[in-house]
């Protein structure tokens, strides 16, 4: 299917361009951010001479385009960093070293990614179940009271900020009722059972926010399909209402839900910063917020690129899934 190959190639090139453009934007924005990076890195009581040495060490004196050139060099060819006693080579794609901690940015990301992914993927399962479930029910019971109640509950989820829901949930469930342990990230590889128990609450908070969006979309898509001509055909052939809603209307909502879900997962990797902060999950979003506050440019650029990559990847996946689900759509 050369069309598909062509599509992938075009999307890959587009992605690279987009990511590079984003990295330029981030570099420019953070280059002008106030806050003397050398002073922050060196420490509160450093003498001007020491600050100058640190600035030298981190090439902070170079003009913007030189620093960006180093960044590109690192990305495509790798870079060497001195640990004082030895030279440490950071292989391509090397996103550089954090000013504050000296850790490789790539290591930081790889350390944080599993947290964000487990939060988002778990959340996805719940928000799909909750969202699509509510959507189908409200489409099935359209117009009746139960639909109004369902819609109100899901809308309530969207309307309340996560840091309020999360906190109240945590204090009631973990504190008062002691049903769940207080959320603390346990790597999946170490202990899957604990991993799940600990993440149940963050998943629920994240899902409550997203569920309403999916409920609304599922309901709208199903109602739209129910108004199509082919539903009339099947009614004219005596097919029961339950089969019509179950087989045909739900199938009609399949494509838009997939597309939205892929987008959601993509942007949630970086966007779940509030949930991560509240539940103390060391994810990408929380790390990025901190890095911005201490103007740790390499970490910020690295993180933003990773988040943007997931968003763009998610959009591409959304398009492919949409085309697969609805054969009539041709991959542009």
């Amino acid at each position: 299917m050369s069309g598909f190959g062509g599509f992938l190639l075009r999307r890959a090139v587009g992605t690279v361009i987009t990511l590079l453009a984003i990295s330029v934007i981030v570099y420019v924005v953070f280059y002008v951010t106030p806050g003397n990076v050398a002073q922050i890195t060196c420490g509160p009581r450093c003498s001007p001479a020491q600050v100058h040495q640190v600035a030298e060490q981190l090439h902070l004196g170079d003009p913007l385009y030189v620093r960006y050139w180093h960044f590109l060099q690192g990305l495509f060819a790798g870079q060497d960093f001195s640990t004082g006693t030895s030279l440490e080579h950071c292989a391509a794609p090397c996103l550089g070293q954090s000013y504050q901690t000296g850790q490789q940015v790539l290591d930081i990301i790889l350390g944080k990614l599993p947290v964000s992914l487990s939060l988002v993927l778990g959340g996805m399962v719940l928000w799909l179940a909750l969202g699509v479930g509510t959507g189908v029910l409200s489409a099935w019971r359209r117009g009746r009271l139960s639909e109004r109640v369902l819609t109100a509950i899901t809308l309530a989820g969207t309307a309340t900020p996560v840091f309020v829901i999360g906190l109240v949930l945590m204090i009631v469930v973990c504190g008062e009722l002691q049903l769940l342990p207080f959320p603390e990230y346990v790597a999946f590889t170490d202990d899957p059972e604990q991993w799940a128990w600990n993440l149940l609450l963050p998943w629920l908070s994240l899902a409550l926010i997203e569920a309403a969006t999916f409920a609304r979309l599922t309901r709208a898509a199903m109602l739209e399909t129910l108004a199509e001509d082919h539903v009339r055909t099947f009614r004219a052939y005596g097919v029961g209402e339950r089969a019509i809603v179950g087989r045909h209307a739900l199938r009609g909502a399949f494509a838009p839900v997939i597309a939205l879900n892929a987008n959601n997962v993509g942007s949630a990797v970086g966007g779940a910063v509030l949930t991560e902060t509240l539940f103390g999950l060391p994810g990408i979003g929380q790390e990025l917020v901190h890095a911005v506050k201490v103007v740790d440019l390499p970490v910020v650029v690295g993180m933003v690129l990773v988040i943007a990559f997931f968003v763009v990847l998610a959009n591409a996946v959304a398009d492919v899934l949409y085309a697969v689900a609805d054969r009539r759509v041709v991959l542009a």
Partner: protein
Amino acid sequence: MTESPLATPAAGTDASVPAAPGARRFWRRLRAQRAALVAAAVVALLVLVALAAPLLTALEGQDPFTYHPSLIDSARGGVPVGSLGGIGAEHWLGVEPQTGRDLFARLVYGARVSLGVALAATVIQVAIGVAVGVAAALGNQWVDQLLSRITDIIVAMPLMIMSLALLAVVPASFPRPVLVTLVIGLIAWGSIAKIVRAQTLSMKGLDYVSAARLSGWKTWRIARRELLPGLAAPVITYAALLVPMNISVEAALSFLGVGVKPPTPSWGQMLTAADVWYQAAPQYLLLPAGALFVTVLALTVFGDGVRTALDPRAASRLRIGTGRKDKDAATATAAAGATATDADATKKEATA
């Protein structure tokens, strides 16, 4: 424009019953949905409260800034004295812990910021989104490619992070509420641009647009006279979903410490400070959370109502208006469906 697969449209079907002109039809459908009406009333009330904030606080005889140290118990962390957090004749909704400022006044002034920022940011997002969307749809191949690439970048850019960076960059002398509005406005117009571009592209092929071209009008005038009125429906529908989203973003920015600065009160800020008082002074948390909840709920329900009223196909489901499916390609049918998809993608990252 290839040959349409069907040789002729359905000549034989029953003639369409003449329907009321756009506006009247819209109001009739909107009135038919009780939930949307209630929501519209709530939204109107909120806007009124926000505008009349000084009047209301004067009525209560308080203002959002004066401290009342006597009304809080310093030894217990600044918990308000008196039942239910000091609710009484003098302070209708009690007093704020640690500072003793009047909660009712702060809530009412807070509405100004939260609603003001959200509405203004939405206007910016719509303006940029429509401009970019229409330009991309009507421009030549390169213009379309460039603008679409830019839109992809904006959508891919994590909203929260860029707000943090921009809010850190701009000197503090710049008035903060305006800055927050600009930041939210400048960063979240991506999805509306996509919707407008799709809708304009679909309208570009319509016969009355071709007719306008034939009569000699230039692209720009055609865009203004023919296309923009057609865009009103999807844009209004989407804007009604954007406002609650922007309110939540302002609250999130405050939670991360970069939102509106004290002493200007805003719901997001109150929530951020209040979350630790969950047990000691619950009303401090419940009041702003309740206010935020009611506003976002009302706006979302109103937004849904507007969408259903504008979408002719939905009208038939509600068995009002023409009673027959309008196949009129120019109305917002397709766009309304797409609206739900795109609107919610950006919302996710803003407040999760």
